[in-house]
Amino acid sequence: MSAGSLPAPGSALPSRVRFTTRTQLVRYAGAAQDPSPIHFDDAYARERGFPSVIVHGFLKAGLLEELALTWAPAGSWLQQFSVRYRGIDLVGAPLLCQGLVTDVSDDGVVGLELWIEDEAGHRTTDARAQLRWEGRAA
């Protein structure tokens, strides 16, 4: 897609599979100053009933933002973003990040539906975004 031309409603974003690592979760916890041990302490996670640490919701949201921003022309940005967490994802599990254009306004705002599916095909993370499209004809 050439920069400047707005995408068509209904078109899909190129999907990506992401795998998280423990190091990554520790990095995120540090970068976001999130001290919750459920994301870096396996023993604690087991006490809470999970087989291992789980991925930060905000980090999953960040992967969906990245899906949109790597697809859109450079300089585009999300002016609205809302994320609902439907289920947990364990560290290391594949995260299938997908997206769909829902609507496009004349002034260059692109509505997106973004989501993460786990290996079993369950949507664990659902997001809606309003992307300010850069490079449209003035």
Partner: protein, 300 residues
């Protein structure tokens, strides 16, 4: 000691006991009440008293605590009204007692107890009289979770806290690396960075820690949703003031037990005072709360 159920049941009296000077001092410090009439006889006499007097609210606190212990769980005291009738001279013993004066049915199938409590001097004069009301059933319809206490703790609807954060280049580098990507060379900050500027996520604001001490097994918890709306993207170098307000506290029954939601809103302003972004975040904790047999909890 058995819990009271009928009119005329008497609370076991305490005393005669002389309130120690150290207790008066601690009360004064705790209540920030350093009025001289509580520790200086001359000052008290100058105010028309015979000498220093025991704090009235201290006597109320003794009576209410005594009542709380007598009623036991799950009863809870809902109303307290105190009348100060006579001075209680420091150094003279006091007797604290009381009784149930009224029992009426509560709307949740429990009972509402009206209690009259007194502290009295050796000459029999009542110094403080307390009228208290207590419910014999657990709080809230169908739930034992301390929702009202939580609302107060979170200062629901009011500003819960204001925090200032700098958006620094190296913060953005760390943040980008956590996503396994390079930071935007233009200094533009990703939308989800508002999570790193959330005082609750960072535990800079931590008003509901007591929820983790509740006597119910936890069945889960975490962020339920995060929403953000930007006027402009955040930039490296921004100095952001975040004002947090809790807007909703509610319960839902879920497959994993009773779900307790707390929703907060953040307003982010830059150094010029302009609003840059607003966010709304919901966090949930699940508890296995034993069914109380009453009606289902209302949703949001």
């Amino acid at each position: 000691m058995t819990a009271p159920t009928t009119e005329g049941d008497r609370m076991p009296p305490v005393g005669p006991v002389t309130v120690a000077a150290s207790s008066l001092l601690r009360w004064g410090a705790g209540a920030d009440d350093f009025s001289e009439i509580h520790h200086d006889d001359a000052a008290a006499r100058a105010r028309g008293l015979e000498g220093a007097v025991v704090h009235g609210p201290l006597q109320v606190a003794v009576l209410v605590e005594q009542l709380r212990r007598w009623l036991g769980r799950p009863a809870r005291i809902t109303d307290v009204e105190a009348t100060y009738l006579a001075p209680a001279p420091v150094g003279e013993p006091l007797v604290f007692d009381g009784e149930v004066v009224e029992v009426v049915p509560g709307e949740a199938g429990d009972e509402v107890l009206g209690c009259e409590l007194r502290s009295r001097r050796p000459d029999g004069r009542t110094t403080v009289r307390v009228l208290a009301r207590a419910r014999t059933g657990p709080a809230g319809p169908g739930s034992a979770l301390p929702v009202e206490q939580l609302r107060r703790a979170l200062r629901l609807g009011e500003v819960a806290g204001t925090f200032r954060y700098q958006v620094q280049e190296n913060d953005l580098e760390h943040f980008a690396r956590a996503h396994e990507r390079e930071p935007d060379p233009s200094g533009r900050v990703p939308a989800t960075y508002f999570g790193a500027l959330d005082p609750v996520e960072r535990r800079d604001l931590h008003l509901d820690g007591f929820l983790l001490e509740l006597p119910f097994p936890r069945t889960g918890g975490g962020n339920a949703f995060n929403e953000v709306e930007y006027v402009r993207p955040l930039q490296v170098g921004d100095e952001i003031t975040v004002t947090t307000r809790y807007t909703e506290v509610y319960e839902k029954q879920g497959s994993s037990g009773t779900l307790l939601f707390r929703v907060r809103e953040n307003e982010m302003t830059d150094a010029s005072g302009a609003v840059v972004a607003t966010s709304r975040c919901g966090h949930v904790l699940g508890f296995a709360v034993p069914a109380s047999g009453t009606s289902e909890v209302a949703g949001r």
